[in-house]
């Protein structure tokens, strides 16, 4: 489930509020808040759409998993999904490397 909005990175663009399919976030006067965490379906899409890599979705679908944002910044986790699918300027070549055609029919 969504665990972290990094207040240092967030620019209050509210993209996550718009794109979350299960309406987990609420807009505020400042940065958005995780208003309904238990509605999160752990689809990682808010993270993918966040242009600042300010969001972190823990992979645990059924239980909250409090995550320390300071420790998280030490890892490469923030933005790792966005980089992996090629949705950053530096990794855009990865958009076209789907190798599923080699895996089908196994």
């Amino acid at each position: 489930m969504i665990e972290v909005i990094d207040a240092e990175r967030c620019t209050s663009c509210d993209i996550c509020v718009n794109v979350c399919p299960t309406n987990v976030f609420d807009k505020t006067d400042g940065i958005p808040v995780i208003a309904r965490q238990s509605d999160c379906q752990t689809c990682f899409l808010c993270e993918l759409y966040c242009p600042e890599d300010a969001l972190y979705v823990a992979p645990h679908a059924d239980t909250p998993c409090p995550t320390d944002v300071v420790a998280l910044r030490e890892t490469a986790a923030l933005g790792s999904y966005r980089r992996a699918v090629g949705w950053t300027d530096q990794t855009r070549d990865l958009r076209g490397i789907d190798r599923s055609y080699l895996l089908f029919g196994h």
């Binding site: 379906q41 689809c43 899409l45 992979p59 679908a61 699918v85 076209g96 895996l103 196994h106």
Partner: protein, 542 residues
């Protein structure tokens, strides 16, 4: 005609709500809904698309990656593609429909390339088009939908259909979740593309898929088909949401003590996993994947690795606990019954596409991965959009029709006893999640579940109208309840095992039951049997 003329017209209404006049309303903004919207707009219709979440991220496809039943138009390849799944599907497919889906999917897949989808190119220089990355695909479909002058209403959950005096469907209304008000779209035709029902199981991307469209359609009298094929379960890490059945083809499954679960496999051995999970935890390790396969997996499906990378597990060398999450009709094949080539339902003005429509015509009683499902979403979406646009045009210029709201449960004030959505959802899950009820079915256990579900329906029907804040959840849980009753009533009507439908009391396939089970009704759930197309032809020839 300018582009502007083809936009749905927004009417001024007091009190914060929005109202539109359109030719076609599409409910649901996943693959089927976006293809329907684009196709209807290309036919000249003014289109509104309403999604309960965000068109582009909503639904089972956006979060995942999916194979596509995209087969080059070589007769031998097409024949093999149709033949190789017939046995799995219990011979309930219809060859004519399979052929037209292969044709339409080929066309739609090529349109995606023209629109800029970044298909991979193989070592021989060929563009490979039998797989789509969900986020990339649905971001593109949202863009194309907007470019087609479709009005998209995000976070706008449909709650009930509107009907005219003749009972024809004429729009819908619902809530705008982020604005806390209502929307209404008066339309000449409606396409239901709300997906299947996965019962809030948190299988990847599926928690928006609660059978909402089924409930709305049933309230105007629509029929369902193949609802017994509704017990698909997907493998995921026990703690996580990411399901990617294909990759578990390289897994070894083991018990707590490390010994191998006999017969367990992702394909053709998932029931062994379910039986083992009834006894205790089951673990997987993808130890059959060599270095090349591991690399291809990472390139193809980055999200598969998020649960592992973020918990420090190497899935290729370490064991991790797995579970089976119910995918219901999202990966089952049941849904709204299609009555003609335009994907019309049995109700005038109402069309169905994607997982919301039955996939029996190309899958019979079983579908494995996303391949056929993705092909069906594109094809049925394209046809339903065109069909709805043509129906709207044939209705002629807008007449002032008197419209009534068709919603029942959660809208009626009755007993001053509240409908409690969370309690109801939990009660339904308790009847559809357990492997011993749904995966492995038996008349006596189905009867027990049905008695409890029917009692819950009586209770819910008599409950008071939901409060404004609870209405959406109340309708979702009522839709889950209604879905479970069509599922189990249909399961009870098929006294054999066929496709994914598995009866402990009838373990074999019975040639005399190569037919479809139709179902419907809310207060009284009914089932009936329809012959398979082959049988109808044989009868006509006699």
């Amino acid at each position: 005609m300018t582009t502007n003329d083809r936009r749905a017209e927004q009417r001024p209404v007091p009190g914060g709500s929005v109202e539109f006049d359109a030719d076609v309303l599409v409910i649901g903004g996943g693959p089927a809904g976006t293809w329907a919207a684009v196709s209807a707009a290309e036919r000249g219709a003014r289109v509104v698309l309403a999604d309960k979440g965000f068109c582009g991220t909503s639904g089972a496809t956006a979060a995942a990656g999916t194979g596509v039943w995209y087969v080059d138009p070589d007769p031998a390849l097409r024949e093999a593609a149709m033949a190789n799944r017939e046995k799995l599907g219990g011979h309930l497919q219809d060859r004519r429909w399979m052929a037209r889906v292969l044709d339409q999917t080929y066309q739609d897949g090529n349109r995606l390339a023209a629109w800029g989808y970044p298909y991979p190119v193989d070592d021989s220089g060929k563009s490979q088009r039998n797989s789509l990355q969900g986020p990339e695909y649905m971001r593109l479909m949202r863009k194309r939908t907007k470019q087609a002058s479709v009005t998209i209403l995000d976070h706008s959950t449909a709650l009930e259909l509107l009907v005219d005096d003749d009972g024809a469907v004429a729009g819908a209304s619902g809530v705008r979740r982020q604005k806390h008000d209502r929307w209404t779209v008066r339309a000449k035709a409606v396409v239901i593309a709300t997906g299947g029902c996965a019962f809030l199981s948190k299988t990847l991307g599926s928690n928006v898929l609660t059978g909402d469209g089924y409930l709305m359609a049933a309230e105007v009298g629509a029929e369902f088909s193949s609802m017994e094929f509704s017990n698909a379960y997907a493998i995921s890490p026990a703690f996580g949401s990411v399901t990617k059945t294909l990759f578990y083809g390289w897994a070894t499954f083991s018990y707590e003590d490390g010994s191998v679960v006999p017969g367990a496999a992702s394909k053709g051995g998932r029931s062994a996993i379910a039986r083992a999970l009834l006894q205790g935890p089951v673990y997987a390790r993808l130890d059959k994947a060599d270095g090349n396969v591991q690399r291809d997996m990472r390139a193809s499906q980055p999200n598969f690795f998020l649960p592992f990378d973020r918990t420090g597990i190497d899935p290729f060398s370490e064991r991790f606990p797995v579970t089976l999450r119910l995918e219901g009709t999202v990966r089952g094949t049941g849904g709204l019954r299609i009555v003609d080539d335009s994907c019309a339902t049995s109700v005038p003005g109402l069309y169905a596409a994607g997982d919301a429509a039955t996939r029996e015509l190309i899958c019979g009683g079983f579908t494995g991965g996303g391949s056929h499902n993705a092909a069906w979403a594109m094809s049925s979406g394209t046809w339903a959009g065109r069909g709805a646009a043509d129906y709207a045009r044939q209705l002629g210029p807008a007449r002032q029709r008197r419209l009534a709201s068709a919603g029942t449960v959660a809208f009626r004030s009755r007993s001053n006893r509240p409908l409690e959505p969370a309690v109801l959802a939990r009660a339904v899950q308790d009847e559809v999640y357990p492997y011993e009820l749904n995966y492995f079915r038996h008349a006596s256990r189905l009867d027990g579940a049905l008695a409890r579900l029917d009692a819950a329906w009586v209770d819910v029907s008599a409950a008071d109208a939901a409060s404004k804040d609870d209405l959406l959840r109340a309708r979702e849980s009522a839709a889950m309840l209604a879905t479970s009753r069509w599922m189990y009533r249909s399961a009870r009507a098929r006294n054999e095992s066929r496709g994914m439908h598995r009866r402990d009391d009838y373990p074999d396939q019975d040639d005399r039951q190569r037919h479809y089970v139709t179902s419907g009704g809310l207060d009284e759930v009914w089932t009936a049997v329809r012959p398979h197309a082959d049988a109808s032809y044989a009868e006509a020839a006699e």
